[in-house]
Symmetry: C2
Subunit: 339 residues, 2 copies
């Protein structure tokens, strides 16, 4: 049996690919935040032993994959596919991290939704019989992102209240047949949603409509209400975007209530750590999922989680040319018990 289509966007998986292992690696600031105990590796500086921030990002992602592979008891070349992507131009963070892996490599670009996109594709490939072990991973680095997307760090620019702090972090999840779980039971793939937001210092607002679209489609197509889940975890909407998402859903009669968590709002202590609206970046949702969320599922705290990572698909060039910011959100349902 293979995947079963529940609606235009949602597929129910038959083979239930499960989490064989997961790992996270983060920077110093993330290691001082509320989730510090959940990360496998915290680097004491921004360099991860390298000479540039871009190389540091690759080193962090490589380390994260090796940690996950170690827990799974396999070498990277034993993976049937590696699915990865990042925010750096030409996704160079992933390419250099994985160039010696020896495994089939499929590069993705989903901006900060990459972890969900990678899990979605990995699940579909495994469910279709095309692979037994697939790694889904991604990273972001505050320093490499800041100078690529915003200003030179030395410039010391002021930050807008709705702005977010790019997480220095990586997360890797290895999915497999015959894994101990949790299992991916269904996936909802997002379409691009652009309501005309142009403020690149307010990504949460640009991405919230896409999250709303995907979550509503997920609930409608699966017939599940939000309370089917113990937690609905969005990627990196931050405080501002999370509030907007709940408002948008509420207008359509969908109430997430206290089961809504946002990785961007969870990873830092916003006030103490001075991150304005919260964390962002591919590594935000990836490191929170691979660490805190999966730990909580394994320990029995959560049995059913909907992981919905969000991405903003603009570039500095498109913003300079006056374009608005297209958002996207993919969702995967993780469950500890399956029928």
């Amino acid at each position: 049996m293979c995947a079963k289509r529940l609606g235009r966007a949602t597929l129910e998986l038959e083979r239930r690919p499960g989490v064989l292992a997961s790992a996270s690696a983060v920077g110093k600031k993330e290691g001082e935040g509320p989730l510090k105990r959940s990360f496998d590796y915290v680097c004491p500086d921004a360099y991860f032993g390298e000479k540039s921030w871009e190389r540091a990002e690759s080193a962090m992602l490589r380390k994260c994959l090796l940690l996950a592979c170690g827990k799974a008891g396999l070498a990277p070349e034993g993976l049937d596919f590696i699915l990865s992507g990042d925010l750096l131009n030409q996704c160079a963070g992933s390419a250099y991290a994985l160039r010696d892996s020896g495994a089939p490599y499929l590069g993705l670009y989903g901006a900060c939704s990459t972890m969900a996109e990678a899990l979605l594709l990995a699940s579909l490939i495994i469910d279709g019989g095309g692979a037994e072990k697939v790694a889904a991973l991604t990273s972001s680095h505050f320093c490499s992102a800041e100078r690529q997307f915003r200003y030179p760090l030395e410039y010391g620019s002021l930050r807008a209240p709705a702005s977010q702090w790019t997480v220095t972090g990586a997360g890797a999840v290895i999915l497999a047949t015959d894994a101990p779980g949790p299992y991916i039971t269904c996936v909802t793939s997002g379409r691009i949603v652009d309501l005309g937001v142009t403020d690149s210092a307010n990504m949460g607002a640009a991405m919230a409509p896409a999250a709303c679209d995907t979550l509503e489609r997920h609930f409608a197509e699966t017939g599940r209400a939000p309370d089917y889940y113990d937690a609905v975890i969005t990627g990196d909407l931050g405080e501002t975007g999370s509030r907007l998402l709940r408002e948008l859903l509420s207008l359509d009669g969908v109430e997430l209530g206290a089961r809504h968590f946002d990785c961007g709002a969870m990873i830092y202590d916003a006030e103490r750590q001075g991150v304005c609206s919260g964390g962002s970046g591919c590594g935000c949702s990836a490191s929170v999922l691979a660490g805190y969320a999966l730990d909580n599922m394994r320990s029995g705290g959560w049995r059913r989680v909907l992981f919905a990572a969000t991405g903003a698909l603009m570039s500095p060039t498109s913003s300079q040319q006056g374009e608005s910011i297209p958002g996207i959100c993919h969702a995967v349902a993780l469950e500890t018990e399956v029928d």
Copy 2:
């Protein structure tokens, strides 16, 4: 039945996803080249009705998808997935081209291997029962690539003999169950190969080892000799890279001979059009496949084609930091007759 693994890299597809429709859209220079009759749309200028080259690239890609959808008799929102990516930072060409498509969107980054990566993933998703109709598409634009990767166009820099000319072009292929064909019968996914080439004016040399790796794995894992195919089409190695590929294969006893075609070497008349080693860019192999190659298969000229698009996974930043250029190559086998 679902995909069957023939080896570490190669999967045989059981449902044989077929080509429902394909389309190509290119710029003026490509429309004056040897393959001019095979393109569906040739724009008389570089702008495709837009005000910037980046917007032009998106307009070209959108037009290409609409042409393919028109031939398939469906609207973009009728697609189960759209898989696309491009060379622009943050793959913005694809995001803006497809933001109004209404279909589930999965962004890819495979540099110039994107068309093969998209076809590979589309085939696996369809084969696994996750979709019935999937569009695989990509684009590149000489002007947007030149200013992002090399120099401002106004600078008029001299070109090195081994350099390639980024194709202004897009190609889209819609795969489906119950399509008239040709069919994708098996796929070989590439791993990253980096032999230390650092000359970004010689991408062919950087990508040839990856093409060699994937082709050799394909032949070994399928048990097919090169003469199983009427044509082995590489993506955009150009004249220099093609020669290197044939030399590398020859050292291992694999002779492609006259059945080797390279999209980069085919799309321009190198001498008359002044393109040095040939064409490159995601749109190079995509437009040649979607046009010339599939036309030739439909008319009976070729019955079996191995399409192996190559990508160079570096970025301007990685090159500035002294990194060598990692290459990748994915291959898909297209056949008009299946058992």
